[in-house]
């Protein structure tokens, strides 16, 4: 990744390959009120959190 003009958060972000995304999540859902909701092929309900927030309702 070219880090020119990128925010620190992007520079330190964790990269997930297409295979990882596919293998782990099956469906990669990011709801407006959450950070990440992983619902994988085993229907795991793992998620980062953060509800509401200023961007939320």
């Amino acid at each position: 990744m070219n880090t020119d003009n990128r925010v620190l958060g992007r520079v330190g972000a964790r990269e997930l390959s297409e295979q990882e995304v596919d293998a782990v999540q099956g469906a990669f859902i990011v709801r407006h009120t959450t950070t990440l909701c992983f619902i994988d092929k085993k229907q795991q309900l793992v998620s980062g959190d953060q509800s509401i927030g200023e961007c939320g309702p």
Partner: protein
């Protein structure tokens, strides 16, 4: 009494909880949030007895309202382009009126919107946690380069960096993504000053943690689970998504329990998911609370947790009850049973996002 869930019916926590409560004979209705569609419409009729209608459901005395994860207010797309901004702001304002007035009605709101709005702020959380006797790491929130550099000049300490909000970058036309995550940053790795102004960030003393704890607060009861992953990653969340963590019930130290319950009392939150880091000395460091954090995944990592049943018992008990939810958790079916039905397509699958996501960016 009925439970009103402010979330789409197919939200990944709403769906199994609604199913479990209904199976036990309780009434559950969902309102996905304020929108122009028939189901999304709402009315607040204010006279002697104020009446709030959410979709086709009235909010009645004795109801429990779980503000889980409603959709963003959505105006009618047919509105004139010239009026869209106004319509959007009006929808947002009306939603706020609904969310705030709920806590003035004779219903139990989980959590009160005013408390949730304040406590979502990481700075407020940290300060209150410290005031309640919880151990918190030294923290700087800043976009001022000189102050950031000064923070990194602390002797014998390591520093992590994290954002105020989560974000995902998806490469255009690809499935690969980059996800914000807590990461360690050294003084030598600090970029030039201008980059530090691109976005404010949270810089925090790195807790020398042996393992993480995810704690679930339900009223005056708390359940703590030690999360361990072989990689000892700074941020366990994505590893949990990869199935690389274990979740083991651990006793909460009495001083931590006391601090958390005081935190709950003072913040006004009755439900939430808290994160702690535990160091080699066994000290629990408060990291954050997500008042509508995900919790059912713990049932998948530890079938004895039974958080689905506990939550069902929690929301169907009288507000402020001190009776342990364990006394009633057997009234409800398990997440495992729900998962079996899901696997056999005997219940509807959880949903996909419907709206554009402000936490998702596309990049080249």
């Amino acid at each position: 009494m009925k439970l009103i869930v402010l979330a789409p019916e197919d939200d990944n926590h709403t769906a199994p909880i609604k199913w479990a409560l209904e199976k036990a004979g309780h009434r559950v209705v969902c309102w996905a949030g304020l929108s122009w569609t028939e189901n999304g419409q709402a009315s607040l009729i204010m006279k002697e007895d104020d009446t709030l209608l959410l979709g086709g459901h009235s909010v009645d005395p004795g109801d429990v309202v779980w503000i889980r994860r409603p959709e963003l207010p959505e105006h009618n797309p047919k509105v004139s382009e010239a009026d869209k901004k106004f319509a959007s702001l009006e929808y947002r304002s009306f939603y706020h009126s609904i969310a705030y007035i709920l806590e003035t009605l004779p219903v139990w709101v989980i959590n009160r919107y005013s408390a949730a709005r304040v406590m979502i702020q990481k700075a407020v959380q940290l300060r209150l946690a410290r005031q309640c006797g919880l151990k918190t790491p030294a923290t700087l929130m800043s976009n001022h380069p000189a102050t950031v550099r000064e923070f990194f000049a602390r002797e014998n300490s390591r520093t992590i960096c994290k954002g105020f909000t989560p974000h995902v970058w998806q490469k255009e036309g690809q499935m690969s993504v980059a996800i914000t995550e807590t990461f360690e940053l050294t003084r030598d790795q600090l970029p030039n000053d201008e980059v530090l102004t691109y976005a404010p960030a949270i810089y925090q003393e790195r807790v020398p943690k042996e393992y993480d704890v995810r704690m679930v607060l339900m009223g005056n009861q708390i359940y703590s689970y030690a999360l361990r992953n072989a990689k000892q990653a700074l941020d366990w969340r994505q590893d949990a998504g990869l199935g690389h963590v274990t979740a083991e019930l651990v006793p909460t130290p009495p001083d931590v329990e006391k601090g958390v319950l005081e935190f709950a009392r003072r913040s006004g939150l009755c439900f939430g998911s808290l994160d702690f880091g535990v160091d080699a000395k066994g000290q629990w460091w408060y990291l954050e609370i997500n008042e509508q954090g995900q919790f059912l995944w713990i049932d998948q990592f530890n079938r004895d947790a039974r958080l689905l049943e506990k939550f069902c018992a929690f929301v169907t008990q009288p507000q402020g009850s001190t009776v342990p939810v364990e006394a009633r958790q057997d009234l409800f079916p398990s997440l495992l049973e729900y998962e079996e039905l899901l696997k056999n397509e005997q219940v509807a699958p959880v949903g996909r996002p419907r709206q554009e996501d402000p936490f998702l960016s596309l990049e080249a």
